[in-house]
């Protein structure tokens, strides 16, 4: 968090949270007022196994600096086995990130249960500070996307 304040850099972070454990864990972190940087934006999915590796790559292409996927602890999946699929898929995706030249630290898979509000906040604090150290993700910068984004932003202004 401190790094970010020093150089004024704010990372963009997408967090995929499963509805039953991690999203509830995030809600609990809120209920207990445990703060984490506002750069984390949560996307709710029914299960971590709904997260297609393509979503992660899409986020990186659109300029996300970090992507984190949170699910129930192995063995505790609401859908019995969804998070095992997540674990396998994402371990393959890590290798693919290496191939693309994206630091594998930019992606993380964490298990956060519905009762672990404190863990959720701690994980997010840690992840944001790590991404802040890594800085902007320019590897997959798509010029067309960037142009689109900028025109859209200027329209909004």
């Amino acid at each position: 968090m401190q790094d970010k304040q020093i150089n004024g850099y704010r990372p963009k972070i997408a967090a995929f949270c499963c509805n039953w454990c991690s999203y509830a864990g995030a809600d609990l972190a809120g209920g207990n007022r445990l703060s984490y940087p506002c750069d984390v934006k949560i996307i709710r999915v029914p299960c971590s196994c709904r997260v297609d590796p393509i979503f992660v790559l899409r986020a990186f292409r659109r300029g996300a600096d970090g992507v984190i996927i949170c699910g129930c602890h192995p063995g505790d999946c609401h859908y019995t086995s969804g998070n095992y699929h997540t674990r396998r898929r994402m371990s393959l995706l890590f290798s693919f990130l290496d191939y693309l030249g994206i630091e594998r630290e930019r992606m993380r898979v964490e298990w956060v249960s519905a009762s672990e509000g404190a863990k959720f906040a701690a994980v997010m604090n840690d992840f944001v500070s790590e991404i802040s150290k890594l800085g902007e993700n320019r590897r997959l910068e798509d010029v067309r996307c960037k142009e689109q984004t900028e025109t859209r932003l200027s329209e909004e202004r």
Partner: protein
């Protein structure tokens, strides 16, 4: 677009007006407003009016977590004719205003979240939930006071209930207790009639000595396999006369019911009031089953109930609702060597004390030292053994076990009642007595009965000849104490039953870090688990005493009755759907589906040249699909989609989140 202030909960940190203003210029948004409490009646009226006035196709509510009020807003929308699945929630309370302090940052995050919700909503389409029937039968897992009460209440409403109990009799922990606080009425006198009621109720079936083997299905339509362990006694033939238990030559087996303080035979009835009152043969100790020698019990049994060839039996049954009532166990005190547990028989746990004072116990209610059966002159009670432990200690539990303060006061009082001249000490961290007539009870123990309450922990107990040396500190007088005790009673912390973890996995029901079952909402839905159709009763959810357990059992029963009284249930419409044009029938989706909801069918498709060709495609059973979305990711041809969480929708959210300037 409706932005909620939630009093100051959101408006305190997020500039809600700025969010509403920013969203006005978002493409597709035609109306944007804020209100103090969107979930209130007048807030909902604003939403309904706007839907009618502007003929809205969908709405986004920026408010608290969808886990809280999604259902509320969906209901409001559908009351004015909008499809409830055209409602999206941007969670700007739990995941924004409550966790961020900087107003500017929180406002910009709220705008981003609102944009993501709009982006998703644009790709929503109306969904219609399917319907499924309800099996009018409930399953209660656990036959303690929680399970018995739940079953009785459900049966009273006219529904069939099955109780599955792992031990040979129902009754649970309460059957082992002597007297109950704060009224000091005897546990057996209030419990055993209930046990008999349960056994005689024609709506209740009791599967004793049984365990839940597997669970499948979903709310309203569970299929459960119950394993009925072989008891080697025909349950419907045995009269419970007890002759076999008298004649059995193997008699030196520690009794589970009396916590090893006396012995039982290899064929036994757990206790005199057991329900069902049927003998059971312990296969580990029976010589006939182990070595094929003996057979005395079958010779003496006049009813001919003994059957050495009995096998475990598996019973499959359908249920509409499942209640978990697995209760608690005192923790093992193995790692608390400082209390000399195991070194001296005169260091006992509170549950053992209950058996010692119980008229049906090993000493017939005579409170004596287990070592020499003599009257104890000095009794020391140690509270919080394993409760409220520092995590750094690496043993015990962090939580308060809740019931120990009260039962220790009861034990101290009972000791004084039996031996008014005995010295009774209670060591405590805090005395916690919230409950009706609880504090009065504790004060009576301390003031009227002269029990010496000392704030401080016992550091070490060492056996010293026939007595026990108790070294402790008195935190109020700031001095060290050495007490020569005859009997030490440890109030061991309580933890969830060790069988609960495996059961939670079978039920896909979540547990907290301590292994207690989690409730759907800690305040508003305390007896429902997050898994639809699974309810919680008693100490499986957290430490609680008998009155609370009974109250919760009734509450769980009311929820079950509410569910079973419905003829049809609406199912979750967010299920997988297959685009048959794109499906190649490769079977990948069927292999990853945890519910077996995907089958493959041969279908005729039109091909060039005006002909048709049969092709294998996936077909989703919407009643079985739970909507995890695993198949949608596994599908290589992109044919599988999850309604409500389509790839395009999630990617639109990703785009919206990444769109904001750094």
């Amino acid at each position: 677009m409706f932005v909620c202030h939630c009093g100051t909960n959101i408006a305190g940190t997020v500039d809600v007006e700025a969010v509403a203003d920013a969203m006005k210029s978002e493409s597709g948004v035609v109306y944007s407003a804020t209100y103090q409490y969107m979930c209130s009646q007048s807030g909902q009226d604003i939403i309904k009016k706007a839907i009618r006035d502007y003929e809205l196709g969908g709405i986004v509510v920026c408010s608290c977590s969808p886990r809280m009020h999604e259902a509320t807003f969906r209901k409001a929308a559908s009351s004015v004719g909008m499809n409830p699945y055209m409602v999206e929630i941007a969670n700007i309370r739990e995941q924004c205003s409550w966790v961020h302090k900087n107003r500017e940052d929180a406002t910009s995050k709220a705008i981003t979240l609102a944009r993501a919700a709009v982006a998703k909503l644009k790709l929503n389409f109306p969904l219609t939930p399917g319907e499924s029937g309800v099996t009018k039968r409930a399953l209660v897992i656990g036959g303690g006071i929680a399970g018995i009460q739940t079953a009785l209440d459900i049966a009273d409403a006219g529904y069939k209930v099955d109780i599955v109990e792992k031990s040979p009799t129902i009754g649970g922990k309460m059957a082992q207790l002597d007297k109950t606080f704060p009224t000091l009425d005897c546990a057996a006198c209030i419990l055993t009639p209930k046990m008999v009621d349960a056994a005689q109720n024609e709506n209740i079936r009791i599967f004793s000595y049984s365990e839940v083997e597997s669970v499948s299905g979903y709310v309203g339509n569970f299929t459960v396999t119950v394993k009925k362990k072989a008891r080697y006694v025909k349950e419907d033939v045995c009269t419970g006369c007890g002759l076999c238990t008298e004649k059995c030559p193997r008699k030196k087996i520690p009794s589970e019911f009396n916590l090893g303080m006396d012995n039982r035979s290899a064929v036994y009835i757990p206790f005199a009031q057991a329900v069902p009152k049927v003998a059971v043969i312990d296969s580990e100790h029976c010589m006939m089953l182990k070595e094929n020698k003996c057979g005395v019990c079958s010779k003496v049994c006049t009813a001919g109930a003994i059957d050495y060839t009995q096998k475990d039996e598996y019973i499959e049954e359908k249920y509409g609702a499942i209640v978990v009532a697995t209760g608690y166990e005192p923790i093992s005190l193995e790692r608390f060597g400082e209390y000399a547990r195991g070194m001296s028989p005169d260091v006992i746990t509170s549950l053992e004390f209950e058996r010692l004072t119980s008229a049906a116990g090993p000493t017939h209610g005579k409170l004596v030292r287990p070592s020499d059966k003599m009257k104890p002159n000095t009794v020391v009670f140690v509270q919080c053994v394993g409760s409220r432990c520092e995590p750094s200690l690496g043993k015990g539990k962090e939580y308060c076990s809740k019931i120990c303060c009260m039962y220790t006061a009861k034990h101290a009082m009972l000791t004084k009642e039996k031996y008014p001249d005995a010295e009774v000490y209670v060591f405590y961290i805090d005395v916690r007595t919230p409950g009706k007539n609880f504090d009065e009870f504790y004060r009576r123990a301390a003031e009227e009965y002269g029990v010496k309450y000392i704030k401080g922990m016992v550091g070490k107990i060492t056996p010293d000849g026939e007595r026990l040396n108790v070294s402790a500190s008195d935190l109020i007088c700031r001095k060290k104490l050495e007490i020569k005790a005859d009997l030490v009673v440890l109030a061991a912390a309580i933890e969830p039953s060790p069988t609960a973890r495996a059961l939670a996995t079978k039920l896909a029901s979540s547990m907290d870090t301590n292994g207690f079952f989690t409730e759907a909402h800690p305040k508003l839905r305390p007896v429902e688990s997050p898994t639809a159709g699974v309810f919680l009763s008693g100490a499986c959810q957290g430490p609680r005493d008998i009155p609370e357990t009974v109250a919760q059992a009734g509450a769980a029963a009311a929820k079950v009755i509410g569910l079973l009284s419905k003829e049809r249930l609406t199912a979750n419409p967010c299920v997988a759907v297959c685009d048959e044009e794109m499906c190649s029938g490769c079977s990948v989706c069927g292999n990853v589906c945890p519910y077996g909801a995907i089958t493959y069918v041969e279908k005729e498709f039109r091909v060039p040249g005006g002909r048709t060709k049969a092709r294998r495609v996936a077909s989703v059973n919407e009643a079985v699909c739970q909507g995890c979305g695993c198949c949608a990711v596994a599908c290589m041809s992109g044919a599988m989609e999850l309604k409500g969480f389509m790839s395009s929708q999630i990617m639109a959210e990703v785009d919206a989140i990444c769109r904001t300037s750094r």
